[in-house]
């Protein structure tokens, strides 16, 4: 994965119109947008950090905390909603004490909502590190989290 500096070097003399592509590349490489990355991007493009942060927080795709070992995507598309995905989301939030965009303190789990995973037949569906789990009721979800907890040791959540 390219480092921040390598990505910035790919955009010499770039201005504000390069902001979103640069943000995307940095998140792609680092998994999230760190404070250091945001201020460095701002300096490179000649934008105040407040502007970079403002643009990044406008879009759902950007996160400001590192991904957990297990990245949970809860589908909030129409079919999943009808099948009760709000309850699923609320129970993840309650069980892990994080909000969408957040990462647990031990670095094991991170949470994100997505508009539709394209698996409406499995509603309500949850995706963990690319693996789909169908019919995720709050109870099923609790068991799923337990399985991952037993399986994986946390990595350093970083900063």
């Amino acid at each position: 994965m390219p480092t921040l500096q390598v990505i910035l070097n790919e955009h010499p003399h770039a201005g504000r119109d390069a902001l979103i592509p640069v943000l995307q590349q940095v998140q792609e490489a680092q998994g999230f947008l760190s404070r250091g990355a945001i201020t460095a991007i701002g300096r490179h493009l000649g934008l105040p950090a407040s502007k970079v942060y403002g643009v990044a927080t406008f879009y759902n795709q950007f996160r400001f905390q590192p991904l957990g070992t297990y990245h949970i995507q809860v589908c909030r598309g129409t079919a999943c909603h009808v099948k009760g995905s709000l309850g699923t989301l609320e129970s993840v939030q309650r069980l892990l004490a994080i909000r969408p965009g957040g990462t647990t303190k031990d670095g094991l789990f991170s949470l994100e909502t997505v508009a539709c995973l394209g698996a409406c037949g499995l509603a309500p569906v949850v995706c963990v590190n690319g693996e789909f789990f169908a019919g995720m009721t709050p109870e099923g979800l609790r068991r799923l989290l337990d399985t991952f907890r037993k399986r994986g040791t946390a990595h350093d959540p970083g900063t």
Binding site: R35, I38, T39, G42, R43, L47, P48, A49, S50, K51, V52, Y53, G54, T57, F58, Y59
Partner: protein
């Protein structure tokens, strides 16, 4: 071209916005987000009008005129839309208007009144948000924010600072510094231009009114006050008097009736600043020191350099600002020569500025726990005190400021307007370099509201390159030129606020743009009428040098009147 507004023909010019044409036609269409001179954003939608042939309502602020367009500004549909917008803005707005600092000057309240919004039809979720009191001069109350974006634009587009921006989206949108941090960690320079732009009470200064009242009521304290040059030509507007009236004497009378024991004039110490700064300039030129030298009386500008251009701190004049010079003299020489304990002197400054509150709290300005300046009141806060005490400014007989720091030349008074410090300094630098007065004192090339003004002035054998910038965005442009290698300049005056202190962040809110010009004219009229127009002929300043300071840049001056700067690490 010809257009039609409310069934009347109106002449319009290609390229102008519909709002401009509407206003010229004598029709008032309300806006919350329009800013004269900046590109429109169409954020608030209050300026919507009906245009024949268009399906939706048109935001007039960001719509160009075209030949033959037919506009109805107050059709039932447009009026209803505005009514609903204000209702929605109020749906999650706090109900504490009676306690709000902007009670009386709130544009949202005024709009609600104009549009006849008298009850709450929608109740939005109140946006729980913490009040940010971290900034040493400014307070943010995000719950009162209507997201018009004017603070964001003035900070970035006019001041070139960009300390705040919109964060998030939709109903969760808010305005704040990067990473939603507190203001004290941001690059905010505390100039207060956002306060002047804010239509509501979401941004205001940190009030020092209570501290000052406590000091005035403390029988152990001797409370002294100084007032800045721009205040006397502005204060009248707070009491409904026309802009541009100088109420210097009446203000002095009011300050005495408020209980201040001594009333001094910051223009006196502005004269003192001119003596030191002009001497410093001459010294730098003669000793091949760091040039161009840059003025140091505007504390937001100092903070700006410390944050964004730390490599330029050596260019800043080491002179303290007039406020801090007088503060330092009061707590040292003045106290000593009168047998007073400096800790028992409470030193107040009335300033057109919010950043002056920050300046007074800088650690360099505090010695052994004693601050040179204890409290800074904005022009607005002084007006509040005057009202609180039932004083009728108009009816008060004028009084003179106290000796020994009440007398001024009109050069010191010019510090209130952009170009004024330059004009005052050139008059004295000429005298210091040649021993002669200038033939013509008026330096018209430095007058007026233009953002950057330059001139080359002959002083004796020297030709000096001089530049004046007001508004930090303009100052930044000048710094970039110098960084890019420009080397023909000797001296640069910078005032953080566009137009100078007369348009400072601590001035009266909600006045006509023409008021700034009127205040400026008032200062130049004072100068034209004045018997003493150069700082080096100020008798009080001469006495101070003779009896205490010795000479400009001398040992006592260095100890009391000069300071140093440090690079600042903030989120930029």
């Amino acid at each position: 071209m010809r257009i039609e507004i409310n069934e009347r023909p109106v002449e319009a010019t290609q390229g102008e916005t519909l709002l401009t044409a509407i206003r010229r036609a004598g029709v008032r269409v309300p806006t919350l987000c329009h800013m004269e001179g900046l590109p429109p954003t169409g954020a608030c939608r209050l300026c919507v009008v009906e245009v024949e042939g268009q399906r939706g309502l048109i935001p007039s602020c960001s719509y160009p005129v075209y030949e033959g367009m037919k506009v109805r500004t107050h059709s039932p549909r447009a009026v209803r839309a505005r009514h609903t917008i204000v209702e929605l803005l109020l749906s999650n707005h706090p109900d504490d208007c009676l306690y709000c600092v902007r009670n009386g000057t709130c544009e949202l309240r005024k709009l609600a009144e104009e549009l006849g919004v008298h009850q709450r039809r929608f109740t939005g979720l109140s946006r729980a948000s913490r009040v940010d009191v971290s900034g040493p001069a400014l307070t943010r109350e995000p719950s009162k924010c209507v997201l018009c974006g004017k603070c964001v634009r003035v900070c970035e587009e006019v001041q070139g600072v960009g300390a705040i921006d919109f964060i998030g989206r939709g109903s969760a949108t808010k305005v704040g510094p990067a990473f939603d941090e507190a203001l004290n960690l941001s690059s905010c320079v505390l100039c207060g231009q956002c306060v002047m732009a804010c239509p509501t009470g979401a941004l205001h200064e940190q009030s020092h009114v209570k501290q000052v009242l406590d000091a005035l009521r403390n029988p152990e304290m001797m409370v002294v006050v100084q007032h800045a040059p721009a205040v006397s030509v502005t204060l009248a507007e707070a009491f409904g008097l026309p802009p541009g009236r100088d109420v210097d004497g009446k203000m002095v009378a009011a300050l005495r009736r408020l209980g201040f024991h001594r009333v001094f004039d910051t223009a006196f110490s502005a004269d003192l600043t001119v003596m030191e700064e002009a001497s410093e300039l001459v010294h730098r030129i003669q000793s091949r020191g760091t040039l161009p030298m840059m003025t140091s009386c505007s504390p937001a500008w100092i903070k700006f350099v410390e944050e964004f251009y730390p490599g330029f701190t050596g260019h800043l004049s080491t002179c303290k600002s007039p406020q801090q010079m007088l503060g330092a003299i009061l707590k040292s020489h003045y106290a000593e020569s009168r047998g007073l304990d400096p800790a028992k002197i409470y030193s107040v400054a009335v300033m057109p500025c919010t950043a002056k509150k920050f300046e007074a709290g800088r650690p360099e300005m505090i010695h052994d726990g004693v601050s040179d300046i204890d409290a800074v009141l904005t022009t607005r806060e002084l007006a509040e005190l005057i009202r609180m005490h039932g004083l009728d400014l108009e009816a008060l007989p004028p009084e003179k400021a106290d000796d020994p720091f009440g007398g001024r030349s009109s050069a010191g008074k010019l510090f209130g307007a952009t170009g004024g410090v330059m004009e005052a300094a050139v008059r004295t630098a000429h005298y210091l370099l040649t021993g002669k007065e200038m033939d013509v004192l008026d330096a018209v090339e430095f007058r007026g509201l233009e953002g950057i003004k330059e001139a080359r002035v002959r002083v004796g054998d020297l030709e000096l390159g001089l530049a004046v910038a007001s508004g930090l965005g303009n100052a930044r442009a000048l710094l970039e030129q110098i960084q890019g290698g420009r080397s023909d300049l000797h001296f640069i005056e910078v005032m953080s606020c566009p137009g100078g202190c007369i348009a400072g962040g601590g001035q009266i809110i909600g006045v006509d743009p023409g008021a700034i010009t009127a205040r400026m004219k008032a200062l130049y009229d004072i100068d034209a009428r004045s018997a003493v127009r150069v700082a080096h002929r100020n008798e009080g300043v001469r006495t101070l040098y003779d009896t205490f300071l010795g000479e400009p840049l001398g040992e006592a001056s260095h100890r009391l009147l000069h300071t140093h700067y440090t690079p600042r690490h903030v989120i930029t």
